[in-house]
């Protein structure tokens, strides 16, 4: 049962083959055993989880159970959880206990899921390796000398090590898809506006997107279905009809289930800077998709090469504004010693933020400052439009775009932690979906010779989540990459 998918756990719960208390105890035992090795969690709430599991079992007896009632999950520690500490991986919020639940947390609670704890992350979701967490780096379950990716590395590692079947994450520039790729799990970033940002501690408000991790595309769809929905408390939350993202998965389509689907292959997603083993895995995955009936077409995304530069102007600009709220007055850390109010702000922020967060605040402050706004911020917003126009044109010729999620497999802890530019270049394939707002899904599609997972990124136009899930599900029916588990489980 411990390796079961979320869907299988839900079926076993519904059939009364297992109780939520049993599933939750087993998850807590796995977490206790592997936490010292992986450091995937910042906070584990055993008492709260067992109480919630007991309530879930009672609800089932009453006949009140929904599709996910009793399934243990975890939330990234950037999503506020009432009564349970929310740290954002930062000294600034090391002792912060949120007074309310994030919308997606409340939605998954209402769906009956059992929260076992909060997962580790890069500080304020700023990073691609999980090394900027105040609570220490998360280790990659496939090789504990390597990073799990970031910023949602704790969620990715927890699902990869099968501690839990599903977890939330947030994706501002790739923070779900890149760790999913490096840790060998599925990670779905939905369309911007599909999931409410209420109670998600803001990094870059025009890009931040709540999403999910699981072992299968189907499980991602189940979690997303429970999290999505309009929320008037987030002015960017979209009022759309609710969707069943699994609605096409049971259609019988024969040997060519992807017949008629056009897969776009951007020429910009191949070549320099991409590891040869990653390229080989992606090519094999594309051949598999073709064997399932999907013809491939070449598409061009010429402006995508500018996405790192545009993103690292826009995201820090928004971050510098959002993080100005941390001033030591209303919540979070306050310096112990200061001369006056201004000195209190300066010392509080110097002590409360780590090095990468400070760098991004400073970059953002600079690009928004008098005399530089047009050259950087406005220019980056224009480049953002060029990138969105590229995708719009590409989708005239294809339905889904396929390529690598990240240019390399998991790199060694410490390899890039002192070189922000090298770290930023990890996001080269993931950033565009944040700039355009469109959905992206990373699924395991192979391994390097060294046994490290490689992720295939599937992208679709906005609101194409169900199509992405369908393509990934058909791929996963024909392959077993997503069923491989890291050796640390058996250790």
């Amino acid at each position: 049962m411990s390796h079961a998918t979320l869907a299988a756990q839900a079926r076993a719960l519904a059939a009364r083959e297992v109780s939520s208390v049993e599933l939750t105890r087993a998850a807590l035992a796995r977490i206790e055993r592997l936490q010292p090795t992986l450091n995937a969690f910042v906070t584990v709430d055993a008492d709260g989880a067992l109480a919630a599991a007991g309530e879930a079992d009672a609800a089932r007896v009453r006949g009140d159970a929904g599709a996910l009632t009793g399934v243990p999950i975890a939330h990234k520690d950037v999503l506020m959880t009432e009564g349970l500490r929310t740290t954002c991986g930062s000294p600034m919020l090391a002792d912060f206990v949120a007074p309310y639940d994030a919308h997606v947390v409340a939605a998954l609670k209402a769906a009956g899921t059992v929260l076992v704890g909060k997962t580790n992350m890069d500080e304020f979701a700023m990073g691609s390796s999980n090394e900027s967490s105040h609570f220490g780096p998360v280790k990659n379950p496939w090789d504990t000398t390597r990073v799990p990716g970031g910023s949602s590395g704790g969620s990715a590692a927890a699902v990869a090590a099968r501690l839990i079947a599903g977890a939330t994450g947030t994706d501002t520039g790739g923070s779900i898809r890149q760790p999913a790729s490096l840790s060998g799990v599925c990670g779905l970033k939905p369309t911007y506006g599909v999931c409410s940002r209420y109670g998600l501690v803001a990094f870059a408000s025009s890009l931040d997107t709540p999403g999910v991790f699981a072992a299968t595309a189907e499980d991602c769809a189940l979690l997303l279905g429970a999290m999505a929905g309009h929320d008037a408390r987030d002015s960017t939350s979209l009022d759309r009809p609710r969707e069943d993202y699994t609605r096409t998965l049971r259609e019988a389509r024969g040997a060519k289930p992807l017949a008629g689907l056009r897969i776009g292959l951007p020429r910009e997603y191949a070549g320099d800077g991409i590891d040869a083993e990653v390229t080989a895995c992606i090519a094999a995955a594309v051949r598999e998709l073709a064997a399932l009936g999907a013809p491939t077409v070449d598409v061009a995304l010429p402006a995508v090469k500018h996405s790192v530069a545009a993103y690292y102007v826009i995201a820090p600009a928004e971050a510098s504004s959002n993080l100005s709220r941390f001033d030591g007055v209303r919540y979070g850390h306050r310096a112990a010693r200061y001369a006056d109010l201004d000195d209190m702000y300066r010392r509080t922020r110097a002590e409360g933020f780590g090095a990468e967060v400070k760098r991004r605040i400073l970059v953002g402050t600079y690009v928004l400052s008098h005399g530089y706004y047009d050259a950087y911020y406005l220019k980056a917003q224009k480049v953002r439009r060029l990138i969105a126009d590229d995708f719009r044109r590409a989708y005239e010729a294809c339905d889904v775009i396929a390529g690598p999620t990240a240019p390399t497999a998991a790199f060694a802890l410490g390899a890039k932690s002192d070189d922000p530019v090298q770290m930023y270049l990890n996001d080269i394939f993931t950033i565009a979906a944040n700039l355009t707002g469109a959905p992206g899904l990373s699924i395991p599609c192979g391994f390097t010779r060294g046994g490290l997972p490689v992720g295939l990124q599937l992208q679709a136009p906005s609101f194409g989540e169900a199509r992405l899930v369908d393509v990934a599900h058909r791929f996963q029916q024909a392959t077993d990459w997503h069923r491989r588990t890291p050796p640390v489980i058996a250790s």
């Binding site: 960017t236 500018h306 530069a309 600079y366 707002g437």
Partner: protein, 95 residues
């Protein structure tokens, strides 16, 4: 124009982040490397391109001008570093 150490001190002041003097030179070097990639934006032709501020081209919704939230002051102030009589305490700013 390359970022100078004076720029670093100026933006740190604007961002209200205290810098240890020993931090300034290494921080300047790292920020300089970051601006090395950001400065490539200048060469991109964006004539006639409308800036894109947001993923969805929708107008922000307006709600009725009505009170919807109850009084949660005590709850929200439980997480504040220093409060008294429902007020946030800060160092004296007016003598």
């Amino acid at each position: 124009m390359p970022l100078t150490q004076d720029d670093v001190l100026r933006i740190a002041h604007l961002a209200r982040i205290d810098l240890d003097p020993a931090e300034v030179a290494p921080l300047h070097a790292k920020l300089g490397a970051i601006f090395g990639i950001l400065d490539a934006l200048a060469a991109i032709d964006t004539d006639g391109v409308a800036p894109m501020a947001h993923a969805q081209d929708v107008a922000l919704p307006l709600r009725d001008d009505a009170v919807t939230e109850g009084d949660r002051r005590d709850l929200y102030q439980r997480v504040a570093p220093a409060v008294q009589d429902g007020l946030y305490l800060v160092p004296r700013v007016v003598e």
